[in-house]
Amino acid sequence: MRTPPSFFFLRNPDSEPGQGVYFFNLALTTAAVSLLGVWLLRQSGLQWDWEAVAAYWRLFAAGWATTLGVSLAALAVSTVIGCGVALAQRSVFLPLRTLAEAYVELVRGTPLLAQIYILFYIVAEAVHLENRMVAGILTLSIFSGAYLAEVFRAGINSIGRSQLESAMAIGLTRAQTYRFVVLPQAVRVVLPSMTGQCVSLIKDSSLLSIIGLNELTQSARNVASYTFSNLESYVLLAMGYLLLTLPISLWTRRLEKRFRYET
């Protein structure tokens, strides 16, 4: 017996919802969450004052732009670090391998907050790196690079032995094997976790405010202290980050569809 098309149910977890049905459900959940929000606000009895905060919109915009720039730069650098370290972890030259492993464990095992302090007040000081922006980007890259290295390593490991053997049999060099066989297949595996890491990186950039970098979080803090409107500033702050992270998530969902092929 054929079940009639449903507004709420898919036939199975892997089937694709029609666009109309999908947006209907999206609208429904958005409305429900909004209602809950409104109710909570009413109950809390808060007085909102957006005008004071609005006067400082330039500060917010500047902070947002800095966060965007720092994140983009750190994303690029950490991708390079991640690739290099993932390959180093597979190196046959043992010192390189152990160095890469130690790096990953050290970075993943300590809080970003501590890393920022150590890198800024010891390492950056030692090499006379005074530019906070550059120091911040490098710190964030080193932090995120360790996570990306693990993501990439999992991607490389997901390629079966038979594929590597096949590449070998047709006479590809090691570099060519990575370029033509491993990477194109690994991208598909890696994409979801890479998006997650990318979104984390953007949010983690907020910690750079502690070395006095005027990014979005620092701006929100400043505005909050000028205007005494803590809540308004932090709501704007949250929205500012969503404005950066949501497009990434949506974009990678589309990419995932494009890279999808049966295996």
Partner: protein, 243 residues
């Protein structure tokens, strides 16, 4: 093509996959390896393909000794076409791209040249209609024939086929065997490991019976499958041909 193996041995832990294989053929032609699974056919083919290094022994192809060093092996692999039991096509590439990859990446063809060579082969194998499909959209028989086309496209010195039909149903097996028969008709040198005894008998110029890591017998198909075969060979064939 002349092939000479001397005392070739290879162990995996305690297991002696190859236990001193020696033989010489003046003209390879269609050489077929038969014998029980785990007897050493695959290991022998993989060594000839440059995918595995022997523990000891020597391989000579046309009088030239095969050097088992990575650089030299890479050169060797480029002159050999290999077809695996599991097809081993690249799943992210279409059928025609699978054939093009070694041509453009390794053999210096321009993309246009590679496309031409690949499409010509696909047409000859009656696969042209499937050129743009990804492996997942193809049947096992089609995949294996594309794998053969990929191995053939680079004009290899010889082709090594490791149980190419063992993962296929009878109809697809027939389809792949027909393709291999085409190779025979073209007079290509190839070595085929197979359990298809009828086909081995029909297509082989020479048959080698390999069991327990040793070459038991090498001879014309008429001799191996006939009354004059040695005891061990005969017992094996009687058992597998009985049903």
């Amino acid at each position: 093509m002349k092939l000479k193996l001397t005392n070739l041995a290879r162990s995996f832990g305690e297991h002696k996959a190859l236990d001193g294989v020696t033989f010489e053929v003046e003209n390879c032609g269609a050489l077929v390896f038969i014998g029980p699974s785990g007897g050493g056919k695959s290991t022998l083919l993989r060594i000839l393909a440059g995918l595995e290094k022997p523990d000891s022994g020597e391989v000579q192809i046309n009088g030239e000794r095969l050097v088992f060093e990575e650089q030299r092996l890479q050169q060797h692999r480029r002159k050999i076409g290999v077809v695996f039991q599991g097809f081993n096509l690249f799943p992210h590439l279409s059928a025609v791209e699978n054939i093009e990859l070694p041509l453009t990446a390794v053999h210096g063809h321009s993309p246009a040249q590679a496309r031409e060579v690949s499409m010509e082969l696909l047409r000859r194998f009656q696969l042209a209609a499937h050129a743009d499909k990804k492996p997942a959209a193809l049947s096992g028989g089609q995949k294996q024939r594309i794998a053969i086309a990929r191995a053939l496209a680079v004009q290899p010195q010889m082709l090594l086929l490791d149980e190419p039909t063992s993962a296929l149903d009878p109809a697809m097996t027939a389809e792949v065997l027909e393709t291999i028969e085409l190779l025979k008709d073209q007079g290509r040198d190839f070595i085929l490991a197979t359990h298809e005894m009828g086909f081995a008998r029909k297509v082989a110029d020479q048959v080698a019976f390999i069991a327990e890591g040793k070459l038991v017998e090498l001879g014309a198909p008429g001799a191996i499958f006939g009354e004059t075969a040695m005891g061990e060979t005969r017992r094996f064939l009687e058992r597998v041909l009985r049903w």
